[in-house]
């Protein structure tokens, strides 16, 4: 300790580790600043929160009256976060340090009872009178004395007590993994085609994990699909905001277009034409909203409209890139992610959506581009796109709303 800081009320802290961002060279500060903005967005409900940058880590002060757990819970799903830990911050000399070390496991031993442990010390403040090794050894001795059933295992311990000797002492042992990835906002904007199903929220999650800011578009076909489906899509969007931050949801009144497709196109091409119309409207909206790409939850071969030929037919009608992060992902893995991010239970609510209402008995699985173009020859496509764009209701789905309504995963 270079100076004695006798602050009896050091705030509780949450230590946030950032991984990939630290490799970003000269742009690194941009990534860090964006991450901190995103963290503040998730912490809105806590009022003013102090956040400190500290080399490759970020320290968040737990505001008075809030719990460390609540702050960690709000931060553990922010993309760019590698892990979070509750951090004990101490001022004082080595006696103060070891007094804190001796009791560091009291809580843990009451709860999950680890059997083996290890102490790791980093000495940044080289003026400290003991070496890292000496600190670890003494701390290990103290803990073994206090909990005789606890033995040291340096290779594969159940728990590691980290001691960092800086201008103050940092103690932590609990490390909760974050979602990793890049901070949302660093990779431009994309328009997600969101349905009520399992795949599209996962696709959005994957793109957001690479730093993309999402807006979403949903095609509503009332009265074929009820307002309960729209509510389901809203709920999915709300759950996603945990990861994406606030997100725009655009709802297109698609019924008239759907009926026109029904009456004017051959039955075995209905799904392809419907997908193409959705892509066209989504692209136009994306342009307006300054989104540079479209995102869908399609996975190769999953259903008739997701064969390679069908995807070629839908891609052909748009010029912006269409990202399909699940294209090579097995359904089981998508379901696993869906469960992990908390969208699964909502996705499987039993309401018919447009994909299930308007399906031909035997849709064409390998349509040619020519066949798709021919199927649309009776449609006034420009007119239908305009109609779609004129019948959009947009709303902002906020992280904060989810917290207020008490909806959690």
């Amino acid at each position: 300790m270079t100076e004695q800081q006798q602050d009896a009320h050091l705030p509780e802290m949450v230590l946030v580790r950032i991984g990939e961002i630290t490799l970003k060279g000269l742009n690194r500060y941009k990534f860090e600043d964006q991450l901190i903005r995103n963290m503040r967005n998730r912490l809105q409900a806590f009022g003013k929160v102090r956040i400190h940058k500290d080399q490759s880590r970020i320290l968040v002060e737990v505001p008075a009256g809030e719990t460390t757990e609540a702050v960690m819970d709000a931060l553990k799903d922010v993309f760019g976060v590698v892990s979070v830990s509750p951090l004990t911050l101490l001022a004082g000399d080595k006696d103060d340090l070891f007094a804190a070390v001796a009791t560091a496991f009291d809580h843990l031993m009451a709860d999950n009872k680890p059997r083996t442990f290890k102490v790791e010390t980093r000495r940044v403040d080289k003026a400290f009178p003991m070496s890292s090794y000496e600190v670890s050894a003494h701390a290990g001795h103290l803990l073994s004395e206090r909990f005789p059933m606890l033995t040291v295992d340096v290779k594969n311990p159940d728990v590691i007590l980290h001691i960092e000797i800086r201008d103050r002492f940092h103690l932590y042992h609990d490390i909760i993994p974050g979602p990793r990835g890049l901070p949302v906002g660093m990779s431009g904007n994309g328009m997600l085609l969101l349905s009520g199903g399992i795949d599209s929220p996962v696709a959005g999650y994957q793109m957001a994990s690479r730093g993309m800011t999402l807006e979403s578009i949903y095609f509503h076909t009332y009265p074929y699909t009820g307002d309960e489906v729209l509510e389901k899509v809203r709920s999915l969007a709300k759950i996603m905001t945990r990861f994406t931050g606030d997100m725009m949801l655009h709802v297109v009144d698609f019924t008239k277009i759907q009926l026109e497709i029904q009456s004017q196109c051959p039955e075995d091409m209905l799904t392809i034409v419907m997908r193409r119309m959705m892509m066209r409207i989504a692209e136009k909206l994306a342009e307006k909203r300054r989104c540079k790409s479209l995102i869908t939850g399609e996975s190769l071969g999953q259903v008739a409209s997701q064969t390679q030929e069908a995807l070629i037919c839908t891609d052909h009608v748009v010029s912006c890139p269409v990202f399909r992060p699940l294209i090579g992902i097995d359904k089981d893995d998508t379901v696993r992610i869906s469960r992990r991010i908390g969208t699964f239970a909502t996705s499987v609510l039993p309401y018919a959506d447009c994909c299930t209402v308007f399906v031909a008995k035997h849709p064409k699985t390998h349509p040619s581009l020519q066949a798709a173009d021919d199927a649309e020859k009776n449609l006034d496509i420009a007119d239908l796109i305009d109609y779609g764009l004129e019948h959009i209701t947009s709303e902002r789905i906020r992280v904060h709303d989810m917290m207020i309504s008490g909806e959690t995963r």
Binding site: P223, Y224, G226, L259, P350, Y351, A352, T356
Partner: protein
């Protein structure tokens, strides 16, 4: 103005019935189990109301247990009936039962009870003559729905009792009359059945009360225990005004049975003739012999969609069957009587009551016609 055509789901109480409920509430604002004079007066009113209910169902010798509704009455009968020790319990239900019965049966089966399902005949009623009897495992309890909530099909109870008497005389018969009560004559004693479940709000009583009629309570254990009300069979303070109003509404419904049946028969005929007049494509799912109160019918449009559009125009009908992700519910009585999946998905349930008029039928058919013109699917 709205047009209510979902009487099978619940038949709204009239102002007269609600006034009666309010009057009794003021008159007997005490616990009928209290020992003071006011309590005794309330108990007397309650007993009189129960006698009225028993009389309406031709059940002068039965015991009446007041419950929270039809589902509780059914649970009381099926879950809490203790089969005499000399028999191995074997519950037989029909394939057209309401979930209040079928889910209880599944629950019992999971607990190791032998449960069998009796198929439906083409008219949508339980086909007991086609039920394979195993002499080593004769049924000990038969549970059938009297009037199907999904199709309006009527079970031949007298035929079932004769069949029971001949083949498995030791089996008790539980009749789920939740949909039937207040719509058709029920003759509990004469039929020779053992249990009958009913629910007040189906005949125009306020919601929240049902009854189980039991020929004998010897083998009946309580489902709800507590301070021993209703001879220990169903604990909890009894709701005098609610039971009284329910009896009052039942008395009215029973007196009006023939008129109501004639009215509803005419409504159904009017409805079908209007559909024919306008050349509207439809498929009647309710069997020809079904009670006219319930018309389950399919148009060339998803039932869910049609019901939604009708609702937007103030016409309230029921859905034919629950739709899960575009697939017909596995439990549907419609599927059980051989209706294909597409037709099941297209089904709506239109159920008439005494408030409905010919004018309602015209408005309904007008709206169906317009909806099909706008939203009909290939």
């Amino acid at each position: 103005m709205t047009i209510y055509l979902d009487h099978a789901a619940s038949s709204p109480a009239t102002r007269d019935v609600l006034d009666y409920y309010r009057d009794v509430s003021f008159r007997h604002a005490v616990n009928p189990s209290s020992n003071h004079q006011a309590g005794k007066d309330a108990q007397a009113a309650l007993a009189a109301a129960k006698q009225t209910v028993l009389a309406c169902f031709g059940a002068s010798k039965a015991t009446l247990i007041t419950t929270s509704g039809g589902t509780e009455a059914i649970n009381q009968a099926l879950l809490a009936y203790e089969t005499p020790r000399r028999f191995t319990p074997h519950l037989v239900i029909s394939a057209g039962e309401h979930k209040a019965v079928s889910v209880v049966a599944t629950h019992l089966e999971k607990q190791g009870r032998r449960v069998s399902v009796m198929p439906l005949n083409r008219a949508g009623a339980p086909d007991f003559s086609a039920f394979p009897l195993d002499p080593d495992h004769l049924p000990t309890c038969l549970s059938v729905i009297l009037l199907s909530n999904e199709t309006g099909a009527i079970t031949d109870i007298e035929g079932l009792v004769a069949w029971r008497n001949k083949h498995c005389p030791d089996a008790v018969i539980h009749v789920d009359a939740v949909q039937a009560a207040g719509k058709m004559a029920i003759d509990f004693d004469a039929w020779g059945i053992d249990f009958l479940s009913v629910s007040g709000h189906k005949w125009g009583a306020p919601m929240g009360v049902g009854f189980l009629l039991a020929k004998s309570v010897t083998h009946l254990a309580p489902l709800i225990r507590g301070a021993g009300q209703q001879s220990g069979l169903r604990a909890g303070s009894e709701n005098v005004p609610l039971v009284a109003a329910t009896a009052y509404a039942l008395q009215q419904a029973t007196a009006q049975l023939p008129d109501n049946l004639a009215n509803v028969t005419a409504l159904k005929a009017k409805f079908l003739s209007l559909l024919a007049e306008r050349n509207i494509e439809y498929r009647l799912i309710s069997p020809a012999a079904a009670a006219p109160f319930i018309v389950t019918i399919a148009f060339p449009l998803m039932g869910e969609t049609l019901a939604r559009v009708l609702s937007d125009h103030g016409i309230f009908v029921g859905r034919g069957a629950a739709c899960s992700g575009g697939k017909a519910s596995q439990n549907s009585a419609l599927t059980a009587c051989g209706v294909d999946d597409l037709t099941v998905q297209r089904a709506v349930r239109i159920s008439f009551g005494k408030t409905n008029t010919d004018k309602d039928m015209v408005a309904l058919v007008d709206r169906i016609e317009a909806t099909l013109a706008q939203f009909k699917t290939k």
